[in-house]
Amino acid sequence: MAHFQIRKGRDIKLKGAAEKRVVGLPLPSKVAIQPLEFRGLKLRPAVKEQDLVKVGSVLLTDKYNPDIRIVSPVSGKVAAIVRGEKRVLTAVIIDTDGRQEATIYPPYSKDKIGNLSREEILSRLLEGGVWPCIRQRPFSKVANPHDTPKAVFVQAMNTEPLAPDIDVILKGREEEFQAGLDVLRKLTPGDVHLCCDAKATSPVSSQSKNVRIHQFSGPHPAGNVSTHIHHIAPIKKGDIVWYVRAEDVLRVAALFLKGVFSPERYVAITGEGADRRLYAKTVVGASVSSLLEGKLKADMRYISGSILVGTNAGQQGYLGFYDSQITVIPEGGKRHLLGWLNPGFKSYSFSKTFVSSFLPQQEVSVDTDINGSERAIVLNHVYDQYVPLDIMTFFLLRAVVAGDIEEAEKLGILECDEEDFALCSFACPSKVDVGAVIRGGLDEIEKEG
């Protein structure tokens, strides 16, 4: 077991953590699958509106690799297939019927999993609809089943602001988790790396077998996949690494042990705008209003995921496929007189230009205000202290903006993802969205192959 102490980065201690108590929520009346989340796939609907579906029924298939399918997490009726600009598919919404009838595949016993071939495992993962839980680096897209990754990373920690504690989710489910790891073990000739928080208490983080366990401690982004990969098996050009979130390892396990697509999703309900902050047990794609038990407020932002990398779901929105957290924070947008003169007793900043920076750290309340307008980058030394990778952020940013792909690759863009620069985007006084620029560079590289 190796231990990595991450020093660069910063924790944003936001008000509104979830109480560590799991409450089962009633099945939401509507759930949605949002195709744009599955990066790298070009999804086409396999159902029509009004079709009846079961848990595990195919909703969408990939145009280029039809074996990759997205399945329904609930039984019910397809209420709407929503298209956005340029007829891009944005959501498949399903009215639940509450019965949760499921498509069932032959289950395997725990011991049998070890005897399955890689092909058998692949085909089960694909047909069962669990495949999209496996993603690849570089490019953070859904894995291609024809690739052979050099390693598989299991992300069993999350350091995002107010992130759910994975111990709560994994509690008492060690055997299932081990079965899931055994499945993943078959996918790579290399190692399966289980990356845990050094403070984790779950037996999973010390007793899992057939994997290499690593512990990380330090501020965010110590829990990011890029951080783990960088310190354990960094990506060279041509390398492919797959990664799975610990919650999804349970979904993998269920597909083999029970033969069903397990729709369950634990969600930490967080943020000062949420009334009841706890861990909710619900289903994949649950509606925001079901998670907040209908108590929606105006002037609040409903984020699926964390404040750093989540998506603005809105009151009418749905939980993202990969999200185990919902954050509710106040919307900003109020104008203040002579803001640049404000001594800032209550302002939140990484910089030392506010009185609050010198006061004892407390949990902070932050709204969605940009707090300034976009300007040319002047302070180029602010970024690197938040990136625990061997990356010169400003130079990488500049190479991408200049369209110099070759230089960007040399500077290590393939090791990164947008989320690794979320703290830089937060802290940038010029209000440049560093992560979005880097993501643009990755897209460009991917397109050029």
């Binding site: 944003i12 050099k150 098996a233 960094p234 932002r301 984020i303 964390s306 404040i307 750093l308 989540g310 998506t311 603005n312 924070i329 919307e331 900003g332 947008g333 109020k334 104008r335 203040h336 007189l337 002579l338 803001g339 640049w340 003169l341 800032g344 302002s347 990484f350 910089s351 030392k352 230009t353 506010f354 932050v366 709204d367 969605t368 205000d369 940009i370 707090n371 300034g372 307008s373 300007r375 040319a376 002047v378 302070l379 180029n380 030394h381 061997d390 010169m392 130079f395 040399k410 500077l411 290590g412 979320a422 703290l423 937060f426 802290a427 006084p429 010029s430 209000k431 992560g435 979005a436």
Partner: protein
């Protein structure tokens, strides 16, 4: 406050696309966001943003310049009274100094501001707050008796050729305020160098400490020579000596530096690098001192810190994040070489008594090259590391 917001809202439409004042939108934006925070919200992750913005950063640099500016005003008046042989009345010093210095600062802001707005309008970008700093830095590098029209020409040159032709804020290679100063330095040598320009009294001549030190004959004790000319460590540190408006008081610069470092606005590495570089090079000359060497060789290294424009340059010019190095290693090298070059010019160059401006500009030109090597080394190190991993 609501009233102001309403008023701004009321006139905003005049500057929108297709409206008569469309072209002047940058001007409206500058005024609008100067008076009130923009109040825009994030669209995607990260959903929250740091409370700091460039406006605040630049305002903090201005705050750091306040001690220097006040000292410059007071000292300008003080020097006039001393030159005239009058007693240095506290109020008189302020009054006379303000009469001399305030117009210079105003002209600098006004003339430079016109160019700034013009470029923002033509290029359709926002007015960058960095100008607030450039517009104050430049006058502080001038002698107090500078003709106002030369101030205007100088800042115009600095803004246009120091910054805008490179593409504007953030893209400039040289520090615009120093470009402006270099321009007037070479274009109007009569008003920018010599011994009769440092005190705003006609016909009054008094050489600056560096000029004095350089003039002392070989083999003569340099400290004695400075003492005879009325200069000692303490009055040079506090700044009650003739010189450019902002440069005389090392104390005021140190106060500004402490403020910049506490607030994290300036990089301490460049400042530390330049102080080390200066002390190292000055020590070399100090060790080489002897009866056959120039008298200035024997100047103790720490004297250089408080003489001339070094303190001002090291605190406010070297630390310009855009025209110095962008890598941590580069910042050390950049600062160090600025210090070394400054001493070289001061001690052995026969033409100029002071070398801070030229050495910073020279190193500005080399900063991208230094960074290039640092980044290449970083890439090499990465590749070596990656080739060792599985």
């Amino acid at each position: 406050m609501k009233l102001l917001e309403k008023q701004l809202k009321k006139i905003e439409h005049l500057f929108e696309k297709g409206k008569p004042l469309e072209k002047f939108y940058p001007l409206f934006e500058a005024l609008d966001t100067f008076l009130m925070t923009p109040g825009k919200v994030t669209q995607r992750g990260p959903h929250i943003r740091d409370a700091v913005d460039i406006k605040r950063v630049m305002v903090f640099v201005i705050i750091a310049l306040i001690p220097t500016t006040l000292m410059g005003i007071y000292n300008a008046g003080y020097q006039i009274l001393v030159a005239k042989g009058l007693s240095a009345d506290f109020g008189q010093c302020w009054l006379l100094g303000a009469q001399k210095i305030i117009p210079i600062i105003l002209v600098s802001y006004l003339a430079g501001g016109v160019w700034e707005v013009l470029f923002a309008v033509v290029r359709k970008h926002e007015i960058n707050e960095g100008f607030l700093v450039t517009g104050l830095l430049f006058p502080l590098t001038l002698p107090p008796d500078m003709p106002l029209w030369q101030v205007a020409v100088g800042i115009s040159f600095g803004v246009v050729f120091g910054k805008e032709i490179f593409g504007g804020t953030g893209m400039n290679i040289f520090n615009p305020a120093l470009v402006a100063r270099a321009f007037v330095f070479f274009a109007y040598p009569a008003q920018m160098s010599g011994s009769n320009i440092w005190v705003a009294v006609d016909g009054f001549t008094r050489a600056t400490p560096l000029a004095v030190a350089k003039e002392i004959a070989k083999g003569q004790p340099v400290l004695q020579g400075l003492q005879d000319a009325g200069y000692n460590l303490s009055n040079m540190f506090y700044g009650f000596i003739p010189g450019s408006i902002g440069e005389t008081s090392a104390l005021a610069c140190v106060i500004g530096l402490i403020f910049l470092l506490i607030t994290g606005v300036a990089s301490w590495r460049t400042v530390a690098g330049s102080v080390f570089g200066m002390l190292a090079m000055a020590s070399v000359f100090y060790l080489l001192r002897g009866p056959d060497k120039l008298a200035i060789f024997a100047l103790p290294p720490h004297w250089h810190l408080v003489m001339g424009g070094f303190a001002f340059g090291a605190v406010f010019m070297v630390t310009d994040p855009v025209s110095s190095c962008y890598t941590d290693a580069g910042r050390w090298i950049f600062g160090f070489l600025v210090g070394v070059l400054t001493i070289l010019i001061r001690v052995v160059n026969p033409a100029y008594p002071e070398g801070v401006m030229l050495s910073i500009l020279f190193m500005n030109a080399f900063a991208p090259l230094i960074d290039h090597f640092v980044v290449e080394a970083h890439i090499g190190k990465r590749q070596k590391f990656l080739s060792k991993t599985i």
